[in-house]
């Protein structure tokens, strides 16, 4: 029996990509912190938002572990500013929609990373984050009152690596 090759390590280009993902995840963490502080949300809804906040923080930290010294461990302001202006007011569904767009954008970005990374260990980590963020996007669609068909769809483009837009 012949088995596939063992897990391959990251190279320098991989670590740069993982560092970018690390900063995008910290931006998502901060955006959820803003959303959780919006008074329109009930305590139960805030628990969900804080839960997703924690997931992004965990993802950022895991990516930092793979990126090593390349990781900045700081949020991408470009990603943060692209969504921040729409997380305010009393329209909860609008905020859920914005967060869904954020999750779908990150899911598309991670998907493109899975197809780019040379290191299979790093690709596996990103794939495991991608699966969670797809779930979070679908959840937010349902919370916003979207149809189940919309929850199954990701129309967001991936972030451009380097600029974060």
């Amino acid at each position: 029996m012949t088995l596939p090759a063992a897990i391959t390590p990251t190279n320098k280009a991989d670590r740069a990509l993982l560092a970018f993902a690390n900063s995008a995840e910290f931006a998502a963490r901060d955006l959820y912190a803003v959303a959780a502080s919006v008074s329109a949300f009930s305590k139960e809804e805030q628990v969900v938002l804080i839960g997703f906040h924690d997931h992004h923080r965990a993802a950022a930290q895991a990516l930092a572990g793979m990126a090593g010294s390349a990781a900045t461990n700081e949020r991408s302001d470009a990603v943060f500013n692209a969504f921040r202006g729409r997380i305010m007011g009393n329209d909860k569904n609008a905020i859920y929609d914005t967060l869904r767009e954020l999750e779908n954008t990150l899911a598309s970005t991670h998907l493109s990373l899975v197809g780019t990374l040379e290191g299979t260990g790093a690709a596996a980590l990103v794939a495991s984050i991608l699966n969670v963020q797809a779930r979070q996007a679908a959840t937010l669609a349902l919370l916003a009152g979207r149809t189940f068909a919309e929850a199954l769809t990701n129309g967001a483009a991936a972030l451009t690596i380097g600029t974060g837009t």
């Binding site: 965990a58 197809g115 780019t116 596996a124 794939a127 699966n131």
Partner: protein
């Protein structure tokens, strides 16, 4: 006077005994050589295991087989007519998810063909045998209290299994483009599981992990953690047994004994 000392006699008798022993272990004249391992009785002839290789094609064929497991399960569920009453809306979801799986199977088999492999167009026989058939037998048992709910629980578990399988294949596929193609579908399966989790548990309870206050067991969670798990999936379905418990099945991602190798064919 004796020419042989006591020591000399002992040495000669030791040599003699060793010679007899060696002669007994060696080939004997007139006795036909046997292919069997030296043993008491006769062992049957064996062909040995086929030499197999876990290639990208094998992994993709396995993924396609899993898609057919899902298609068949949704078809079976729809034919049972269990999506009524509280689960009336789930029928539409089941049809959409089944159609998605058909699309996934076609896409995966398209990649198999492109790589020079033979498309796999039926459900995984091993997974059918150990997971799907036993689960459906329990669900269709006449004593099962709520078959509609149980079908939904099984479908949710299968979607999670599919999401986990694609995720686990990322480290096994040798081609980066195939990893991306796998996760394009893998994230679809994760979304399927989320929609079914909501159907199983309305309100906000379906989202994060929680404990059922009545049973003390974990509730279904659409988002079970920060990272996609690769852990076994417990499915509890069917009638209540004499001891007050229900049967559980543990679903795991395909392993070496359930891959769709080139030699595995659809009946």
């Amino acid at each position: 006077m004796n020419r042989y000392s006591r020591r000399h006699v002992l040495r000669l008798s030791g040599l003699g005994a060793a010679g007899v022993l060696l002669a007994a272990c060696g080939k004997q004249a007139g006795v036909e050589e046997s292919k069997n391992v030296k043993s008491v009785g006769v062992l049957p002839e064996t062909d040995g295991l086929a030499s197999v290789e876990v290639t990208d094609i094998v992994l993709l064929r396995t993924a396609a087989s899993l898609e057919y497991n899902a298609i068949d399960t949704y078809d079976a569920a729809l034919s049972l007519g269990v999506f009524a009453g509280a689960f009336a809306a789930v029928g539409d979801i089941a049809k959409r998810l089944r159609d998605d799986h058909r699309g996934h199977a076609d896409a995966i088999n398209g990649l198999v063909t492109k790589l020079g492999g033979q498309p796999f167009t039926c459900s995984n026989p091993r997974l059918n045998e150990i997971y799907i058939s036993p689960a459906l037998a329990l669900i269709t048992d006449t004593d099962t209290e709520d078959p509609g709910l149980d079908v939904l629980v099984l479908a949710h578990a299968l979607e999670n299994l599919a999401a986990q399988t694609y995720q686990s294949f990322v480290t096994l596929l040798s081609d980066k483009a195939l990893r991306e193609a796998a996760m394009t579908i893998g994230q679809d399966e994760a979304r399927h599981a989320t929609v079914l989790a909501r159907a199983l548990q309305p309100g906000l309870q379906f989202i994060l992990p929680s404990i059922n206050a009545d049973t003390g067991k974990p509730n279904i969670a659409a988002v079970p953690g920060a990272f996609g798990p690769l852990t076994p999936i417990l499915v509890t379905v069917g009638p209540v047994n004499a001891d007050g418990t229900r049967s559980s099945l543990t679903l795991e991602t395909p392993s070496l004994n359930s891959l769709a190798y080139d030699s595995v064919l659809c009946a």
